[in-house]
């Protein structure tokens, strides 16, 4: 396939971000090491299950059935949560969800909340919204703590600080822990145990003083109104159980009909995400326990729009395991920040443009942030055909005029064999003039690192005609 004229023009934002990221050799080293480690671990625990394909098919089927009847299951969940003493709030978008949480925290009179690691609250920018109202959100997941202390952005769904190595983490702890509470010991080393201990001591003080907890949820079981959070550190459980008020912001696609359905996902998720056979800390709660107030904020924020798209809706099956990130050759080389969203990697490339739209240059470029190699689809535990959705979104995204012209000319040429033949003969006549190492204009994107093949004297079709398929 040749570089059509104009494909380099109107170059969108992801390529620019990626180019910058590629210059950071430390980042590439960190990412390569981390993604290859998790990738191998996942493969090992998936390969040992003889029924993985059946589990994957079941996960897909359950999610599809749930999404088809989402309205019914959500109302069932609302009734169950309310019956169990919880309060249910519906939020159409990020602003409404943030407003609800702010008002709930305000009503408690508190100015500090502790947070369980949650993608939904990052998606709506809850921490920033709380901060603008004088409320401090304390991230308690170790990796989220590193990101927050470093005034950084998460770059991975499961391992938000994957772009940091341990010496960088040591520096962040030494410099910033004191600003938030208990400082790191002055003699802190970059030994992972020492780093974890410093975080443990620092976080414990924040847990003990917290009166309000904020979480998301991995699953919401409609039949009983039970919320489920999976985590690895136990910090989430501290946030879920100790504060007097618990507020959970949950995307509407997180609902599962029954506990029986959960069984499938408790197998799929840990093996796909951390490469563990069983999840270390699985917390479940139904409504409000005695002495605690519980609020569930059900978040749409673009999800019903995604649901309306026949091809794109499969992205709502996502259980945020990150397997697609860990196996993606593009993500591995550029990291998560280049995607400009809390959802990076292949899933981000199909989720972000659907949730946010493609009005910005960056969001419009995300469906192209993939070589369509298909590795993401192979590992997805709910069989989201990410390449299919990428191609679908590319067709819905506006194209740069120069590229459009180039592809239209190519289509016109390929529409008739006679036109293709004339183009081939023209190229053959000019073959001596065509540079092999430096193409002009948009072709430079090819020849920056690659030589161009020589145009042959004769195309295959002309050879076939001249020799009757080699008979002469």
């Amino acid at each position: 396939m040749s570089a059509g004229p104009g494909t380099f023009l109107g170059m969108p934002a992801f390529p620019k971000n990626a180019e910058e990221a590629l210059e950071d050799s430390q980042l590439r080293f960190n990412l390569r090491k981390a993604t290859h480690t998790i990738r191998a671990r996942r493969q090992a625990v998936v390969d040992e299950l003889p029924d993985w394909a059946a589990l994957r098919a079941a996960g897909k089927a359950i999610k599809d059935e749930t999404l088809r009847n989402l309205d019914r299951y959500l109302i069932q969940a609302e009734e169950a949560v309310t019956r169990a003493g919880g309060h249910v709030h519906w939020a159409a978008d990020a602003a409404e969800a943030n407003r609800i949480v702010i008002d709930l925290v305000r009503a408690t009179g508190e100015t500090q909340v502790v947070k369980v690691k949650s993608m939904a609250t990052q998606e709506i920018g809850l921490n920033e919204a709380l901060e603008s109202e004088g409320i401090t959100a304390n991230e308690t997941d170790l990796a989220e703590l590193i990101v927050q202390l470093g005034d950084d952005w998460p770059s991975h769904i499961l391992v938000p600080a994957i772009h940091r190595n341990r010496s960088e983490i040591r520096e962040i702890f030494l410099e910033h822990m004191g600003e938030w509470g208990r400082p790191a010991p002055a003699d802190l080393t970059d030994d992972p145990k020492a780093l974890a201990e410093a975080a443990r001591l620092h976080l414990r003080e924040r847990f003990l003083s917290a009166k309000v907890g904020v979480s998301g949820a991995n699953f919401l079981i409609a039949e009983t109104g039970t919320l489920v959070v999976l985590e690895s550190e136990g910090n989430g459980r501290m946030c879920l159980t100790m504060p007097r008020t618990l507020i959970s912001v949950v995307g509407i696609e997180k609902v599962l009909p029954t506990w029986r359905d959960l069984e499938v996902f408790l197998q799929l998720l840990p093996r796909s995400s951390t490469g563990e056979r069983m999840n270390p800390y699985t917390s479940t709660w139904t409504g409000a326990v005695e002495g605690q107030e519980f609020h569930l904020v059900l978040l749409d924020n673009g999800r019903t729009k995604v649901l309306a798209d026949e091809i794109g809706r499969q992205a709502l099956r996502c259980i945020r395991c990150s397997a697609c990130l860990n196996v993606c050759p593009v993500y591995e080389r550029v990291g998560g920040h280049a995607y400009g969203s809390v959802y990076p990697g292949p899933i981000g490339a199909i989720l972000t443009p659907q949730l946010r739209g493609t009005a910005s240059e960056l969001d419009a470029s995300l469906p192209y942030a993939s070589s369509l190699c298909g590795a993401c689809y192979d590992v997805c535990p709910v069989a989201i055909d990410i390449p299919e959705v990428l191609v679908h979104l590319r067709a819905k995204t506006p194209h740069a005029p120069a590229e459009r012209l180039g592809l239209k000319v190519a289509a016109w040429t390929l529409d008739r064999p006679s036109r293709l033949r004339r183009a081939q003969r023209l190229a053959s006549r000019l073959r001596g003039l065509l540079p092999r190492r430096r193409l002009p204009g948009p072709g430079a994107a090819w020849t920056d690192t690659r030589d161009v093949p020589a145009v042959p004297e004769e195309s295959f079709r002309d050879w076939w005609n001249r020799t009757e398929g080699g008979a002469r």
């Binding site: 529409d415 030589d451 295959f460």
Partner: protein, 278 residues
């Protein structure tokens, strides 16, 4: 058996030697090969770059040209995967949000879907055709060189050709097949991805090239000249001395062709038409 060669637009235009190698090989194995001259392009570049309407037109053209053959053989895993894996999606769903995609093609959506069901199951990548249809893994080839094989994403994860290509290579006399580390990782070509995200594409290829060089192979083989054009262009730019060859060209080579070290000559091939760099 009436076998049609779908040479692909890329091979037709830039790598005619690959098409000739397929003809040589299939004739040697007793097939009657036809080249339907109406053929142009499967439409993959347009569909995958987001030009679905143009892609559907080209797909419809392909289905018309290749109707009625016992088998259609393409020396490209990617183009064969486009026809067999993506055409049904085009017919079934991917055009669903824009019915206009079928307004300009004859037969409309239902006609397209019928043609897809009729034609696409008989479209094969070369290695599939040899192993599954002809039932051969030893094609009588001779190629006395150290070779490593890159399986290419669409053969591996689209068509799922598995070990068919390496089974064929293992039966080539004189050939030493060395395993490629990280073989299943994408080389970074990805069609227009190679220019739209040129920096990432180059970074992916740099790692692929390092893996190829670590094998000490003289020749990198694959069943797709699009990937080989990208990897070979990089190998050539970096003056690695490693050459790229399409699977068909190695399988077509016999004792008669060995004119010297690294000879790429196969019967009925004019050496001048084989570009060194891809």
């Amino acid at each position: 058996m009436r076998v049609a060669l779908f040479v692909t637009c890329l091979n037709d235009t830039l790598f005619p030697g690959t098409g000739k190698a397929v003809v040589t090989l299939l004739r040697r194995l007793g097939c009657e090969v036809e080249f339907p001259e109406g053929q142009t392009c499967c439409g993959q570049m347009h569909v995958n770059t987001g030009y679905r309407d143009e892609g559907v037109r080209l797909a419809r053209h392909f289905l018309d040209v290749f109707a009625g053959y016992d088998a259609v053989v393409a020396p490209s895993g990617s183009c064969a995967a486009m026809v067999r894996e993506q055409y049904p999606k085009l017919a079934d769903g991917m055009g669903a949000t824009r019915p206009g995609a079928f307004a300009s093609v004859h037969g409309g959506r239902s006609g397209f879907a019928r043609a897809v069901a009729e034609v696409t199951p008989r479209v094969y990548d070369l290695s599939e055709f040899l192993v599954d249809v002809l039932g051969v893994t030893d094609v009588g080839a001779y190629f006395p060189h150290r070779v490593t094989y890159h399986p290419t994403c669409h053969s591996l994860r689209g068509l799922r050709v598995g070990d068919r290509p390496t089974r064929l290579l293992r039966n080539v006399r004189g050939l030493e097949l060395v395993p490629l580390p990280g073989a299943d990782e994408c080389c970074g070509f990805g069609g227009t991805f190679a220019v739209k995200n040129a920096a990432v594409s180059a970074a992916m290829c740099a790692d692929k090239v390092a893996n190829i060089e670590s094998t000490g192979a003289e020749v990198l083989c694959a069943a797709d000249n699009s990937c080989l054009m990208h990897i070979g262009g990089t190998l050539s730019r970096q003056r690695t001395g490693v050459r790229v060859m399409h699977l068909a060209e190695i399988l077509a080579a016999t004792e008669r062709d060995v004119g010297g070290p690294m000879s790429r000559e196969v019967p009925a091939v004019d050496p001048a038409v084989n570009g060194e760099a891809r």
